[in-house]
């Protein structure tokens, strides 16, 4: 059973509005989604029925079950679009994630995509805590020359995390792509006034929000 894109979008918006764990009011949710209020309410009720959202007074919060749904959706999206490039075993992954079988997912990511346990833990943590919609992020390798991206999260073990952090690559920093070598070669980015070369493998582990302004 898979839920619709709209419900996922709704869940993600509620989760991102719900930073203080106090809940988000209907009007704000509708505003952020750009949906009419009655449609929003209908979908919210839908989610409540499914057990993804809780309503207390006029405020809505995402339940743990809903959070798991978001996680599953995000993992599926990244897996299919960037990690596995559509050759996906997506149904399989989704089913496992819903059952909460993280061990097996970790195994899949390790065996098929070379992500070690630490890196896939980071992925889970990042996906779980990511504020906003997963469709907003792309790997750094997707950016073209001259494009700017804001680092969202890095899927790597602590060794690489620390090495990148030392070079200035931490969440929320803006990077500009200066040069891209052909045939999956390295990428040169500039940030904090310095130029850094990243191998393709490293760059593909850095997820960024596409930005427009330099």
């Amino acid at each position: 059973m898979s839920i619709s894109c709209e419900l996922i979008e709704l869940l993600e918006i509620v989760a991102s509005l719900d930073l203080e764990k106090k809940g988000a009011p209907l009007s704000v949710i509708a505003n952020r989604l750009g949906w009419p209020v009655d449609k929003t309410l209908e979908k919210l009720k839908n989610c409540v029925e499914l057990g993804f959202i809780e309503q207390q007074d006029s405020l809505f919060t995402v339940t743990p079950k809903g959070a798991n749904e978001i996680l599953a959706h995000r993992a599926e999206y990244l897996h299919d679009h960037f990690i596995h490039r559509g050759r996906g075993r997506l149904a399989w992954l989704l089913k496992r994630l819903k059952k909460g079988a993280r061990g097996e997912v970790t195994q899949h990511l390790f065996a098929r995509h070379g992500l070690d346990k630490e890196a896939s833990d980071t992925l889970h943590q990042s996906l779980l805590e990511f504020k906003g919609q997963v469709e907003e992020v792309v790997p750094l390798t997707e950016l073209k020359r001259g494009e700017v991206g804001e680092v969202a999260f890095v899927v790597a073990g602590r060794g690489l995390l620390a090495r990148l952090a030392a070079m200035g690559i931490v969440p929320k920093v803006k990077v500009t792509v200066v040069r891209v070598a052909p045939l999956h070669g390295p990428i040169e980015v500039s940030l904090r006034g310095v130029s850094i070369i990243l191998g393709y493998g490293v760059a593909s582990k850095i997820y960024v929000r596409r930005g427009s302004s330099a």
């Binding site: 070690d116 980071t122 943590q125 990042s126 779980l128 805590e129 990511f130 504020k131 999260f153 890095v154 602590r158 060794g159 690489l160 995390l161 620390a162 090495r163 990148l164 952090a165 030392a166 070079m167 200035g168 931490v170 969440p171 929320k172 920093v173 040069r179 070598a181 052909p182 045939l183 999956h184 070669g185 390295p186 040169e188 904090r192 006034g193 310095v194 130029s195 850094i196 070369i197 990243l198 191998g199 393709y200 493998g201 490293v202």
Partner: protein
């Protein structure tokens, strides 16, 4: 610790900073030629030291490796940390690139956490000014709470002020710098709590390290600090507290605590930079940037790369060849006869031993290796100082990944065409031990200048240039295949390329010459004793007749399996000393230097292949021993001999069918 009066005038300054900030230039300005290069104990990281006199102080200056962080993820970082902890320098000079202040402050903040007695050398202020960056030095000093001295290392401006500031720190007697800079309230609260507990429960540890630093490192899950704390009586308790805090931090921020702390540092760094940096003119595309764009982009970049390296090889080949001829003329025509003349009274065996063994070794080193190595080092220093090498690594990363290494490994491979010895040493630039070894493994297979002599002198001369080029291509394929094989065989994860791209700079003659000199000195110290020793040992074997017996044993292998004339076993054995000696001795053994009379084309190819691949020469073995120890050196030697015999034998059989 109380110093006696005489000792009080001796102080130690350590230079710390990012790579490419002009740290070595400052070091050179401070110490001149008065410096020694050695290794850090047990590590293949260079340790450069020098001394100078200033006022009535004798100052020892230690140039620490270029690092970006005080964590434990590279050997350079480990070395720096160990040094700061164990040898407690009187002053730590943090060299900071004024044109990239924000990123450089990341390390500065960590040195402040460490409470090192800090002086900042704000270097390359001229370059920064050209980029339109002006820095309020007084404000920076006030914010950081430590002296800040603007310097231009290449001209020596600011150096005496820097020394003045260092002496000032020593006179003030402050062993630990205290900074007023604070991170976010929440993180500071936790750091404060954790350091209180550390002070109370682990007083011995806190007497050695700053409590604040320990606390922050615990929150960063630093494996070394965790181990240190574990050893304490209340270690488990402290670690449990740290883990609870980490969990809370990660929950709040939604990211790894390593990143939480790193982000805190960057937010302080960018705030400080924002307050002190004034951008005067908007930077426009400079000549350097245009050049940078041309040389690291697309087909043109590769064309420039190839052209540049071909011309470099040609230069080294001709310049080196010229000096080889010159020196050889001097030694064989003048010196050796003179020595032989002096030795007429000594027993002939001893004389032969002295002439061929001792002198032969020295001559081999001087005439073959140095003439190629010195120009090579010179050109390398120019490439390094100008900032071209990272661009080459950028272009080659793709290809190098196919053999499990990244772009940086291109540099040792490239050096391998000149001489395997500096190539092996340059494998140090790789990040992990595994990568270093993999790079060295393929590097020794690259035909060096001496092997080029055989390839060109035998195959090139008698079978034509296309055949020689085919040998080079075959070698590249072999390197590629073996690299892949080794990459799959050796356990461990490949490390991705993360490297700073420094801007282009004009290399300075003085710096280039100093680098060349110190590297050449280093090479002589490592390789010469072994070249001479090896040559002596070989002569002993020769005189005692053991060599003859060994070559008799080898004969079936040589003539049956490789199809070479039986007499070529001794030249091949001697080729270990210096590879092109194999060709000279082969001529001697066959009684003619017109090889077309005595060797078939197949034999020429087989001889060339075998001498190209089998055991690296004595000097290379020396370098390998120095870098990788006995076990791994033996591994390379055994693999290479096996490979040479395999390739030689198979080539013989296949070529006999074809030719």
């Amino acid at each position: 610790m109380l110093n006696t009066k005489a000792e009080a005038k001796r102080i130690t300054i350590a230079l710390a900073g990012n790579a490419n900030v002009g740290k070595s230039a400052i070091f050179n300005q401070l110490t001149g030629l008065n410096q020694t290069v050695a290794n850090w104990p047990g590590k293949t990281v260079e340790r450069t030291e020098g001394t100078l006199r200033f006022q009535d102080y004798t100052i020892k200056v230690v140039d620490l490796p270029g690092i970006y962080s005080l964590s434990t993820y590279s050997m350079e970082e480990l070395v720096t940390r160990e040094y700061l902890v164990e040898e407690t320098p009187d002053v730590v000079v943090n060299v900071v690139d004024a044109s990239a202040l924000e990123r450089n402050l990341y390390l500065t903040l960590q040195l402040l956490e460490f409470e090192a007695p800090l002086v900042i050398a704000l270097n390359q202020v001229d370059f920064a000014a050209k980029k339109g960056v002006r820095i309020d030095v007084e404000k920076l000093s006030e914010l950081l709470g430590v002296p800040v001295i603007p310097t231009i290392a290449v001209t020596g401006s600011g150096i005496s002020e820097l020394l003045e500031a260092c002496v000032g720190v020593v006179k003030s007697g402050r062993r630990r710098a205290q900074s007023r800079l604070k991170y976010g309230k929440e993180v500071e609260e936790y750091v404060g709590k954790l350091s209180e507990v550390l002070k109370e429960r682990a007083p011995t540890l806190v007497s050695k390290y700053s409590a604040r630093w320990l606390a922050i490192k615990l929150l960063e899950k630093d494996p070394q600090v965790v181990e240190l704390v574990k050893l304490e009586g209340f270690g488990q308790q402290i670690l449990a507290l740290a883990e609870a805090i980490i969990e809370h931090l990660e929950k709040m921020h939604g990211e790894n605590s390593i990143l939480v702390i790193a982000s805190e540092r960057y937010s302080v760094a960018s705030r400080v930079a924002g307050e002190v940096v004034k951008i005067a003119t908007p930077p426009k595309l400079s000549v350097e940037e245009k050049l940078s764009d041309l040389t690291a982009r697309g087909i043109l970049g590769y064309l420039i790369l190839v052209t540049l390296f071909i011309s470099i090889f040609a230069t080294i080949f001709y310049v080196g060849g010229f000096f080889v001829a010159l020196l050889e003329g001097f030694f064989t025509d003048l010196l050796l006869p003179a020595v032989e003349g002096l030795l007429t009274a000594t027993p002939p065996l001893l004389a032969a031993f002295i002439v061929d063994g001792v002198l032969g070794g020295v001559v081999a080193g001087l005439t073959v290796v140095l003439p190629y190595i010195v120009p090579f080092y010179l050109i390398l220093a120019v490439l390094q100082d100008s900032g071209y090498l990272p661009r080459a690594a950028f272009l080659m990363d793709n290809f190098m990944h196919k053999i499990g290494l990244h772009g940086k490994a291109f540099i040792p491979l490239l050096l391998g065409y000149g001489c395997s010895v500096p190539a092996c040493i340059s494998c140090r630039i790789m990040e992990s031990d595994r990568e270093r070894f993999l790079a060295a493994f393929v590097t020794v297979l690259i035909p060096c200048a001496a092997r080029t002599v055989i390839i060109l002198g035998l195959v090139g001369r008698y079978l034509g240039l296309p055949a020689a080029i085919a040998i080079y291509l075959f070698n590249l394929i072999l390197v590629f295949l073996l690299g892949r094989l080794a990459y799959r065989t050796f356990p461990g994860e490949p490390v991705g390329l993360v490297m700073e791209m420094p801007p282009y700079r004009k290399p300075l003659a003085r710096a280039v010459l100093m680098q060349t000199w110190s590297k050449t000195k280093d090479f002589i110290q490592i390789a010469f004793p072994i070249i001479v020793g090896g040559s002596m040992a070989l002569q002993l074997l020769n005189i005692s007749g053991l060599l003859q017996r060994a070559s008799n044993l080898l004969e079936p292998l040589i003539s049956w399996w490789l199809g070479l004339p039986a007499v070529s076993s001794i030249p091949l054995v001697f080729g270990v000393l210096r590879k092109e000696l194999a060709l000279i001795l082969l001529g001697d053994a066959l009684g003619t230097f017109d090889f077309s009379l005595v060797l078939s084309p197949v034999q020429m190819v087989v001889f060339t292949l075998v001498s190209m691949l089998y055991i690296p020469c004595v000097s290379t073995v020396a370098a390998l021993l120095h870098e990788f120890g006995l076990r791994r050196t033996l591994f390379i030697v055994v693999v290479d001999i096996t490979l040479a015999l395999l390739v030689g034998g198979i080539a013989y059989r296949i070529l006999m069918l074809v030719m």
